[in-house]
């Protein structure tokens, strides 16, 4: 495997870039593996990479029904931050941010992690209370987050409208400077290439259609469109389709799958230096390195497995964007798409063991799991390898919904008085 570097690009440039090899192989499935990961998104590929690199499990495979990263990994708007409210969440997401900070070099693949700062706007007194609670909680947890006045927010993001001619004027903002964005495809490809180099088989166009269990109920094999594959351990990272896959093993999950849309504008020269989110009026925005404004919002309101949503949702999103940034009203939407996100009752993920021995799950990331890709994958790999929770993912059990130990990040959106 050729190392990626400026020098190598130059050397290859002398021979028409003809010497590059496939970034990962396309092997035939083996009859058996020590572990199988279902889902070739960032989470699944990352888990395979960490299993191989941290736990020495190299006779493993990632099974993907379509193309790598074709799920939410390749559809998301790539906001990365760790200023979540509860210490459990901040722990998990911040573990991730720390991994992001070294990821390009660890994988030898530029994932373009750009720490341009994520700013969350407050529009009501209630928002202010909630975000200030976040700031205090994050500081105590050692996670950076700071409170900005409207003027400071505008200084950080010049296009922002802080006048009071808005329906919901900006009353302040919480800023996480270490937050930012990354290049989504590169995350899938980078993990795939690094895992492949360690011997992991990446099986594309291979759909898992069944999970076979032995007499004791433990996982024994998976059925796929490319044949049966024996394995004692199955880790599932299938995002919006996780409940379908776990249903194959008879496990019911408290997940609902919703379409989530995003859109980009035509590319323009740099105008937008950071990431801005407004949960109150439903929109967030950043500018990609290519120059496109990358815009998203909340999920559609009906559950669905079709990767498209209603126009009215995009309209509502753009209403909010045009309120916040009136100079973008003449910009034009270039592309709109949807993914299927898996939402739990407390808006926090489920990472860890399941009631079925040998079956592990990493799901429930809903609208915000891209940022957690390295951290979740890293801790899931630990759990699969050791058949035990990692201290960081330990609170994110499936049982918490039964026992009531919720990590309710939706709390931030609690009722106004």
């Amino acid at each position: 495997m050729t190392r990626f570097s400026a020098f190598e690009l130059f050397r290859q440039g002398l021979t028409g870039q003809s010497g590059w090899k496939p970034q990962w192989r396309s092997p035939e499935p083996k009859a058996a593996y020590d572990a199988v990961i279902v889902g070739g998104g960032g989470h699944g590929l990352g888990a395979a990479y960490y299993l191989a690199s941290q736990h020495g499990m190299r006779n493993i495979a990632v099974i993907e029904k379509g193309w790598l990263g074709g799920g939410n990994t390749g559809r998301n708007t790539t906001i990365i931050r760790s200023n979540y409210l509860f210490p459990e969440s901040a722990g998990l997401y911040d573990h991730s941010v720390k991994l992001w900070e070294g990821l390009s070099r660890e994988l030898n693949y530029n994932v373009m992690f750009s720490q341009r700062g994520v700013m969350m706007l407050a529009h009501t007194v209630h928002d202010v209370q909630v975000f200030q609670r976040h700031v205090h909680a994050n500081r105590a947890a050692g996670v950076d987050n700071e409170w900005l006045t409207p003027e400071e927010a505008k200084a950080y993001c010049p296009p922002l409208n802080i006048s009071d001619n808005m329906r919901y004027p900006v009353l302040g903002a919480a800023l996480q400077r270490r937050g930012g964005t990354a290049r989504h495809d590169a995350v899938a490809w980078g993990y795939a290439r690094a895992a492949d180099r360690l011997g992991v088989d990446i099986l594309e166009n291979c759909e898992v259609t069944g999970i076979v269990r032995n007499a004791q109920g433990a996982v024994e094999a998976v059925e796929t469109t490319r044949g049966r594959i024996k394995t004692p351990k199955v880790g599932v990272s299938a995002a919006g389709h996780t409940s379908v896959v776990l249903g194959m093993a008879g496990v019911r999950l408290p997940l609902e799958s919703f379409p989530l849309q995003a859109l980009v504008s035509e590319p323009v020269k740099p105008v937008f230096p950071c990431v801005v989110m407004s949960n109150t009026i439903h929109a967030y925005i950043s500018q990609s390195d290519k120059g496109e404004l990358v815009i998203g919002a909340g999920t559609d309101i009906y559950t669905s497995y079709t990767q498209r949503g209603g126009l009215h949702i995009s309209q509502h999103t753009l209403e909010a964007i045009c309120e916040l940034f009136p100079q973008f009203r003449r910009m034009r939407m270039l592309r709109n798409w949807g993914g299927i996100v898996d939402v739990t009752p407390d808006r926090s993920p489920i990472v860890g063991k399941t009631p079925v021995p040998g079956l592990y799950v990493n799901c429930g990331w809903g609208t915000g799991g891209f940022k957690a890709t390295p951290g979740a994958a890293h801790t899931l790999a630990w759990t699969i390898a050791k058949d035990a929770p990692h201290p960081i993912n330990a609170p994110f059990t499936l049982e918490r919904f039964r026992d009531g130990f919720l990590i309710d990040e939706a709390a931030a959106a609690a009722v106004a008085h």
Partner: protein, 995 residues
């Protein structure tokens, strides 16, 4: 390249009407009917842009929506600038001001073009392979440089002053595209008598016929046939014909979104005239007649200015009366280019040679060209071009047997016109989720199985011969309308062989030659091959790795050629590779038109109470609480919020305050089983609540956490007046309906939202009864008749009222409910009556302080979706004897009574003046460093005027067992010491309400 390239006659322009415009600061003349592109071409200007990555000089390639190169900024001032507009779609108007993009210092001399020299070292995806060292350099150096080099035009720098409209429409048949197929379809459909809509993106109907002046249809010239057809459609009141209207999105259940441009083409739009209108059309049947896009040829250096699509060149000639050059080379793999050659030659342009890739082209068009004496080289590949800012030579090579090429030959020319054939426009069909099939003969994907009530007609489904197109359109329109197809029309069109070529033209130019597939994004066939070499086999991967098809034209000219290159490289048939997903919008759509009128106060409805006007007149400062505007405080003179709130608080505690509580949600729960429903729904017990009595109700979610609260009054045995939080009203009503309809359909009860029926005037303070006594009729206000938590019905100021004796302040209190339209009158009467008693208006901020002094929670402030009733000291409210209520089972879980749960407590700072910040964290000891174990957080914190010190409510782990303990709140570098106390700070015995 001086002199005019305008023909003497022909075209759909008005030559006599000169239109002056500026491009990059230079003034030019065009004529009415021109586009910016045709006007520039008429002035001999081909160079219109620079490419995205290599900053290569680029000329116009097409003549319509598929244009990848000629992107410009059109401006009417800072707030009215639009970047990335296709010059081919900008209608010329007097004074038009356009600028080229992505170049510095000028279009002709662009420093960014050094990228072009770097090309061998920056292939597709190069950025994934480098810029990783040192780590900090990505944010600090590489990314800013890359960002500055990328992007195309500039975003507007000032707010857009224009307005945009939105309209919903329904019709029986919607026809998309007004070319020959669409016009025939609409005409046929209109005869069915239903509502028909015909939309087309161009400025006038006619589509491809606009560039076919010589063909005759049904005995008429094409111009007259279009006019006759349009006239008939316009005369029919059931038909709506929209021009400049692009159907850009196809949504579920035949919902089509159309963007109509209303004023961009006008020199001086009327003041306030809307700029665009969004149509959301729900159609019974849809006929897609969206035509086809011409396919370029992929050969080395195929991107020089002066190299354009042959069909586009013909459009410039026939529709705009513009010559693409004086001496042209035609390079083709398709018959249609012969039409261009023939028409140009007739217009006096020298056709140096027609280089046809096909070994033995035949057919009437080829024969016509031969008959005209045009030089034709068959089996001939174009393998390169020369020139700087304009092509000067075409390089041709004979294709020998076994794929070898003969010696090259350079032909001088000032334009190269190319064609690989036509790609049916299946964008909307694909968006509708219809299934495509690959047609090998046409080398094109065609609509196969529809997913909606939809049919395609004409070129967009691979039918190109005009007679067949007319018939196909008419049949589709008639079928959509459920009637028989009209008799077929005949035309004089000469048919072309529809088969074309795709992929890369063979060449002998070595590995460094660049043959562009995606012009705008600078993707070459080499890049595609590199992607394949690196293992990207899925077409989606190749697209993402190379960015092919992701430019602002969304691959209209590039996708099929890219597939051709991939198929060759992967040695797989095209249909096994498949297409990337077509996504909306078909062409870019202005944010503003999607946002429509929703701006400022129209962004969200503003809800105001009947007393709002009074509050405005009395200087209230408002806050947004869900959709409501609520008075937050009433400053007097130069008072700030703090001063106003202290004054208001003291007034309530010492005399009386008046507060507008109308925003509280109100739901009337009525029916024989009303009490039973309430029992099951709220945690409290309701059966024994007497008529005329009130109770504080608490609602949990299924998971046992507090969701809402409010006072509930029993109006009658079968009638409850339920109040909710201001923001919770809709949520609670929905949840009530949900439970009633899905869990307890047997209950005889119904709910009515009465929030807006009642104005609610809260009168709180020791003087409240004195103020009220003169105003009420038929209500005994004495404590015996109307004790705390009782209600009475009667009249106030002659208006019927439900009078609640309740208190959210801890003082003697009344909430006067009156019909909303009487709210202000009653308020003013109470206000007047209160004057001798020192009545003071107060807002939500004072309300918050007063209730915090009493330890009353606010749902959403003390609770956050993780608090049980017991956590917030409300276990007394639970109807313990009830068999069930929402949340009961969840509350029985061991975790719900764990001793370390966060519980509601009061906090007093060691220094009485220090007011903690809401949200501040609580820890057990001093001197902790992050990450530190946190045991709680402050939920409410105020300065209490009546107590003369700060107070705070907090949720603290095991809080109730910590009374008297000293805890700490981290603050800056240190911490603030606090003492844990009970949550009720003022009048803990509750003596003041029971007077």
């Amino acid at each position: 390249m001086s002199g005019s390239f305008r023909t003497g006659i022909g075209g759909r322009i008005r030559r006599e009407r000169t239109v002056r415009f500026r491009f990059d600061g230079v003034t030019y003349a065009g004529v009415e009917g021109d586009t910016l592109a045709s006007a520039l071409l008429a002035n001999g200007v081909h160079l219109m842009g620079r490419s995205f990555k290599y900053h290569r000089p680029r000329g116009v390639l097409g003549a319509g929506a598929d244009e990848p190169n000629a992107l410009v900024e059109v401006t009417r001032g800072a707030g009215r600038t639009v970047p990335n507009v296709r010059a081919t779609q900008v209608e010329l108007y007097e004074g038009l001001e356009a600028r080229s993009q992505n170049r510095w210092p000028s279009l002709a001399l662009d420093v960014g073009a050094v990228n072009n020299l770097m090309a061998p070292f920056i292939p597709a995806g190069f950025y994934y392979k480098t810029f990783m060292w040192p780590r900090k350099a990505w944010d600090a150096l590489y990314e800013p440089v890359i960002r500055a080099a990328a992007g195309l035009g500039h975003a507007p720098t000032a707010p857009d002053p224009d307005t945009y409209l939105n309209r919903y429409a329904h019709c029986e048949v919607l026809v998309i595209g007004a070319g020959p197929a669409g016009l025939s379809a609409a005409l046929a459909a209109s005869r069915g008598g239903g509502r028909v809509m015909l939309v087309d993106e161009q400025c006038e109907p006619g589509g491809s016929l606009l560039a076919e002046p010589d063909v005759r249809i049904d005995g008429l010239s094409s111009r007259d046939w279009i006019a006759r057809t349009v006239a008939e459609l316009q005369a029919n009141p059931r038909v709506t014909l929209l021009s400049r209207a692009t159907a850009f999105g196809y949504f579920a259940h035949n919902m089509i979104a159309v963007n109509e441009r209303l004023s961009d083409h006008l020199a001086q739009p009327a003041a306030g005239a809307p700029r665009e209108r969004l149509w959301q059309i729900r159609a019974g049947e849809v006929v897609i007649a969206a035509g086809a896009h011409e396919r370029p040829l992929v050969f080395p250096d195929n991107d020089r200015p002066g190299i354009l699509l042959a069909g586009a060149a013909r459009t410039y000639l026939n529709r705009y009366g513009v010559l693409p050059g004086r001496r042209v080379v035609i390079a083709t793999g398709h018959d249609e280019a012969y039409r261009t050659a023939i028409d140009l030659s007739r217009a006096g342009v020298e056709v140096a040679v027609i280089a046809d890739l096909r070994p033995r082209p035949t057919g009437p068009l080829v024969e016509q060209a031969r008959a005209l004496g045009l030089a034709i080289r068959t089996g001939c590949a174009i393998t390169g071009s020369r020139g700087g800012l304009r092509v000067t030579h075409a390089r041709l090579s004979a294709i020998l047997a076994a794929g070898k090429l003969g010696p090259p030959d350079e032909i001088a020319c000032d334009a190269v016109l190319m064609s690989g054939g036509y790609t049916p426009s299946v964008h909307l069909f694909s968006q509708s989720r219809g299934k495509l099939r690959w047609d090998e003969a046409l080398s094109a994907f065609l609509p196969d199985v529809s997913a909606e009530r939809e049919r395609s007609a004409g070129a967009c489904r691979g039918i190109f011969a005009l007679d067949a197109v007319l018939a196909d359109g008419a049949a589709a329109g008639a079928a959509a309308a459920g009637i028989d197809a009209p008799p077929a029309l005949r035309s004089t069109a000469v048919d072309a062989d529809p088969a074309g070529v795709m992929g890369a033209v063979p060449h002998d130019r070595g590995p460094d030659a660049r043959a562009f597939v995606d012009w705008q994004n600078d993707v070459t066939s080499k890049d595609l091959k590199l992607a394949v070499r690196e293992g990207f086999q899925s077409v989606e991967h190749v697209k993402r790795y190379t960015t092919n098809g992701m430019a602002t034209d969304q691959g209209k000219t590039s996708n099929i050629n890219a597939l051709g290159v991939l198929a060759d490289e992967l040695k797989r048939p095209v249909e096994k590779i498949g297409l990337t997903t077509f996504r909306m919008p078909y062409t870019p759509v202005t944010f503003g038109v999607l946002a429509g009128m929703a701006r400022g106060d129209l962004f969200d409805p503003v809800r105001t109470t009947p007393i709002h006007g009074w509050a405005v007149e009395n200087g209230a400062v408002f806050e947004d609480v869900s959709l409501w505007k609520r008075a937050r405080y009433f400053p007097q003179g130069a008072e700030d919020m703090e001063a106003a709130v202290r004054r208001e608080c003291l007034a309530v505690r010492s005399a009386c305050g008046i507060f507008d509580a109308s925003t509280l949600g109100k739901i009337e729960v009525v029916g024989r089983d009303a009490a039973e429903f309430m029992n099951r729904f709220y945690i409290n017990a309701w059966t024994k609540l007497g008529v005329g009595r009130c109770r504080y109700g608490v609602l949990c979610r299924e998971d046992g956490f507090v969701m809402d609260d409010g006072v509930v009054g029993r109006i009658a045995q079968d009638r409850f007046h339920v109040t909710t939080t201001t923001g919770g009203a809709a949520r609670v009503l929905n949840m009530m309906e949900d439970y009633l309809q899905t869990e307890w359909p047997e209950l005889d009860v119904w709910f009515t939202s009465t929030t807006e029926e009642w104005a609610v005037i809260a009168l709180q303070g020791p003087k409240a009864r004195d103020i009220l006594s003169g105003l009420v009729e038929g209500i005994d206000l004495s404590p015996e008749a109307l004790p705390h938590m009782a209600l009475a019905e009667g009249h106030i100021c002659g208006v019927p009222t439900r009078l609640f004796r309740v208190s959210f302040s801890g003082e003697l209190g009344f909430e006067i409910n009156v019909p909303a339209d009487q709210g202000r009158t009653v308020w003013e009467a109470v206000w007047a009556a209160g004057q001798p008693h020192g009545l003071t208006p107060y807002g939500t901020e004072t309300m918050h302080v007063l209730r915090a002094e009493k330890g009353f929670i606010i749902v959403g402030q003390e609770t956050d979706g993780t608090a049980t009733p017991d956590d917030v000291a409300l276990s007394w409210a639970v109807g313990k004897a009830k068999p069930d209520y929402v949340g009961k089972r969840s509350l029985a879980r061991p975790s719900m009574s764990a001793p370390d749960r966060k519980q509601l407590v009061g906090l007093l700072t060691e220094v009485p003046e220090t007011v903690l910040q809401e949200g501040a964290q609580i820890v057990a000891s001093r001197g902790l460093k992050a990450p530190m174990p946190v045991i709680g957080h402050v939920t409410s914190s105020y300065y209490s005027a009546v107590l003369g010190r700060s107070i705070a409510l907090a949720m603290v782990s095991g809080g109730r067992a910590r009374m008297g303990e000293t805890l700490y709140s981290p603050h800056g570098a240190g911490e603030i010491a606090v003492k844990v106390v009970g949550p009720v700070f003022h009048d803990p015995e509750g003596a003041r309400v029971n007077v």
